[in-house]
Symmetry: C2
DNA sequence: TAAGAAAGTAACCAGTTAGTGCGTTAGGTG
DNA sequence: CACCTAACGCACTAACTGGTTACTTTCTTA
């Protein structure tokens, strides 16, 4: 050995303790791993490594792999529902509000591809983790009433037809974006085109807005 | 010992050898297991047991777990595409043909829930198995041209508007059924209603037909 | 009918994997 | 500053899991 490394720069850091930061790093790594491999396929050791945390910490903070998955899933739902509420659609003209929601949903899926995979994984497990979550139900009610409000205002303004079920419409808005993106790999093969190319994505968004607008038009 | 059992009825079956039947039993069991747990979560031992076959036979006939999955997946795609071709939509009035396709797609997903889960699993793996399949591409081309034909005839008859991309329409027809069913567990919690109840399913089908008809109407 | 190919079986193996026991260390508090 | 709680880390294990080895049994055919 020749020179001792500068302790300030390369010392094996005394690693200041920070429970919240460690938790956050674990959740972030877990979200990525669960999204990449699903709840069953994700490896706890890999999550610990990517989080630069010890595996023991995962069990300390989240109890089990399933506990960790449940927290990740719950956070994901809270995140999208919170973002939706921030759109302030009630200040917009009904048609603009609806178009904005379609655009937001599409953009959210594109920017948060983990969301889709987490939801798929949860449905493979028959929603056993989500069932335990009370928060999600509260947020979902707000989500439905938001659409209900847009529809009512649209009908009153004479721009939407009456009798549309907000739940069915919500499902449809999600479906036309979600399906395209979750099945982008098999879809690109079947239709022999790159569904993720920039112009393909733009075309799909236009098509989706069109689909929803024609569906609700008076 | 008193009486010898009737060999025809109760003999500890000499287990007549039948490669095709064994293969078929393995494929059937594999489809169910892969659908229930995904490609990663399914267990080869469980498949062998359910197929009443020896695990060694799986490796003999299909090489590996992935080889087995690929065959199951390929069969699933061929099955739905074949059933679609049998609909004979080219003899129907365009609007009837399209409605029939929407109804068929919905009914197929309902009667073959494994299909959806297999496709989801394949997309989690970025379609690495489907990429190797040449058959699927051939069938898919026929699928697209079928929709193309319906659209052209509809435009010519003045009942559909022009300029609709058959691929986008195909994706949308699949999406509005597929999403509802694959996310039926989380959906039932979020919307606080049983999405699989008989009347809920009927309502969704009606809504979907309506969505597609309004989308293509002139 | 002898022989060999194909179908079928049981036991086994090496590598993983979720989960733990137990000891160490940082840092806030009395 | 002594003490104690909570953060952190290492090394281990019991159960599993995809895949294989070595073998027996059945059927076909020359």
């Amino acid at each position: 050995m020749t020179t001792l490394p500068d302790p300030v720069e390369t010392a094996a850091k005394p690693r200041t303790r920070d429970a919240e930061a460690t938790k956050a790093r674990i959740l972030d790594a877990a979200k990525k791993e669960f999204a990449k491999s699903g709840m069953g396929g994700a490896r706890v050791d890999v999550i610990a490594e990517k989080a630069k945390a010890n595996k023991r910490m995962i069990y300390h903070y989240f109890g089990s792999k399933e506990g960790l998955f449940q927290t990740v899933l719950e956070n994901a739902y809270v995140d999208i529902r919170t973002a939706e509420q921030k759109l302030n659609l009630d200040h917009l003209e009904p048609r603009d509000a609806l178009e904005r929601l379609v655009r937001f949903t599409w953009a959210y899926y594109l920017r948060n591809p983990e969301f889709i995979t987490l939801v798929n994984s949860e449905n493979l497990h028959r929603a056993k983790h989500l069932k335990k979550s009370e928060v999600v139900k509260v947020y979902s009610r707000k989500f439905v009433s938001m659409m209900d409000d847009i529809l009512s205002r649209g009908v009153a303004a004479g721009v939407f037809r009456a009798g549309i079920d907000p739940v069915q419409l919500n499902i449809t808005v999600a479906a036309i974006g979600y399906y395209y993106l979750t099945n982008r790999f098999t879809g690109s093969i079947m239709f022999e085109r790159d569904l993720m190319a920039k112009d393909a994505l733009e075309e799909r968004l236009r098509f989706n807005i069109d689909t929803i607008m024609r569906l609700v038009a008076a």
